[in-house]
Amino acid sequence: SAFKDLKSSPFSTGEEKTPHDMVTGYNNFYEFSTDKTGPAKLSKNFRSDPWSVSIEGEAEVTGTFSLEDLIKPHTLEERIYRLRCVEAWSMVVPWVGIPLGDILKRFKPLSSAKYVYFETLNDPEQFPGQKRQVLDWPYREGLRMDEAMNPLTILATGLYNDPLLAQNGAPLRLVVPWKYGFKSIKSIVKIKFVKEMPETSWNMSGPKEYGFYANVNPKVAHPRWSQKREVRLPSLFGSKNTKTQLFNGYADQVASMYSGMNLRKYF
């Protein structure tokens, strides 16, 4: 394994981890393919080194930073999180990463920065799926400032103690464990502090089906399927016998950010 002396985290779950081959072989990453086994096959030549990230917007420090410069000052942690896809399957993934808030603070966001906006690399040469307009590329995501600063939110650089593979969003991706997986944007090239709620990819493509918040919530159904239960992978016949938890089981850490908010309206 590539990482040494990973800090363990009290936020890690003790639940059974989804096997490595499943985490790296079953991926929703439309930049490669809409077929879940496609990303692992089509990403062999993806170049995630060298990599740089552009930091923009409402902050004192902005500019382009190499991946090393972004990561180096921080201690990598292992975070074993539940991952809940909006399609009602879930995994348990041992991520390696850094709290997003620790990185963002270095850029001294201004008080006008209310949201953080993220963008995935836009390069159809490397992302064959981008040759078709399945989504309006580049992939975009965003978080409210307090969500971005929440200690659960991490930027991941690895999983299962190894650097991220391309199909999992190498070399740098977001992990927001209380939200549906599509919020956890992969292969990030841009982070921008913004004043207004940014436009986000799935919300743009289906505003009635995918909200900006996308908090895991068993009581708010997707228009085409219930979110009450999920398939925890691995699973022999894959029955949905796991009950979905509000905020994916992270209510203690995140519920206060949404107190007084109508979660049905702001889904």
Binding site: K36, E87, W89, S205, K228, L236, G238, S239
Partner: protein, 200 residues
């Protein structure tokens, strides 16, 4: 030209080939290469139910175009396979997805048009399966043909079910829609031609 003894070989071959999708899912589950078996079973069975419906609908045009009546001999089998895969699709949804919870099943059918369309299509297929025997064909006479014209609304419901349920990429369901449209269009054209003849 196909001969009767060829049909005797081809029929069991089609029977076996038609089981391959099911065998592949079973192998995926057994070998643990199918990460999400629920999704695998539901997608595969649904896809093949639709494919067999379209194949079944293609037999009459093939007969007319090739001038060989043999095609019709495969029609019962492909039709029954459509029913077989549709039933598997429905049972997997009822059992693995809905865990046999009756209130939730009813709620889903009422709340979600695509489930209502799919369920209706399956229910309509059952009488066609039941009346597919030689005895029933004889017994029903002219009414048999009328009853089995239900295959058209069934296929339309099936394709609409698929179009409504996909998450984003409509390419695949639209291919099915185009094939269905071609198959129905071919029949409509024939019918129009017949009516014209009558009026001349």
């Amino acid at each position: 030209m196909l001969k009767n003894q060829h049909i005797k070989i081809i029929k069991p071959l089609i029977f076996l080939v038609a089981l391959l999708p099911l065998a592949m899912v079973a192998q995926g589950i057994y070998m643990r290469t199918l990460v999400n078996p629920l999704e695998g079973i539901i997608h595969t069975s649904g896809e093949w139910a639709l494919r067999f419906l379209l194949i079944t609908l293609a037999m009459t045009p093939l007969k007319e175009i090739t001038g060989s009546a043999h095609w019709i001999k495969f029609r019962r089998m492909t039709g029954l396979y459509a029913l077989f895969y549709a039933s598997l699709h429905f049972m997997a949804w009822i059992g693995l997805d809905q865990l046999f919870i009756v209130e939730e099943i009813i709620e889903s059918i009422i709340d979600r048009p695509y489930i209502l369309f799919g369920t209706t299509a399956l229910l309509l297929m059952i009488p066609l399966g039941v009346t597919s025997t030689k005895g029933m064909i004889r017994k029903l006479g002219k009414r048999w043909k009328k009853l089995h014209q239900l295959v058209y609304p069934i296929a339309i419901l099936g394709v609409v079910h698929f179009v409504l349920l996909v998450k984003k990429d409509l390419t695949e369901p639209l291919i099915y829609a185009a094939i269905l449209l071609a198959l129905l269009g071919w029949r409509a054209r024939l019918r129009v031609a017949k009516i014209r003849k009558r009026h001349v």
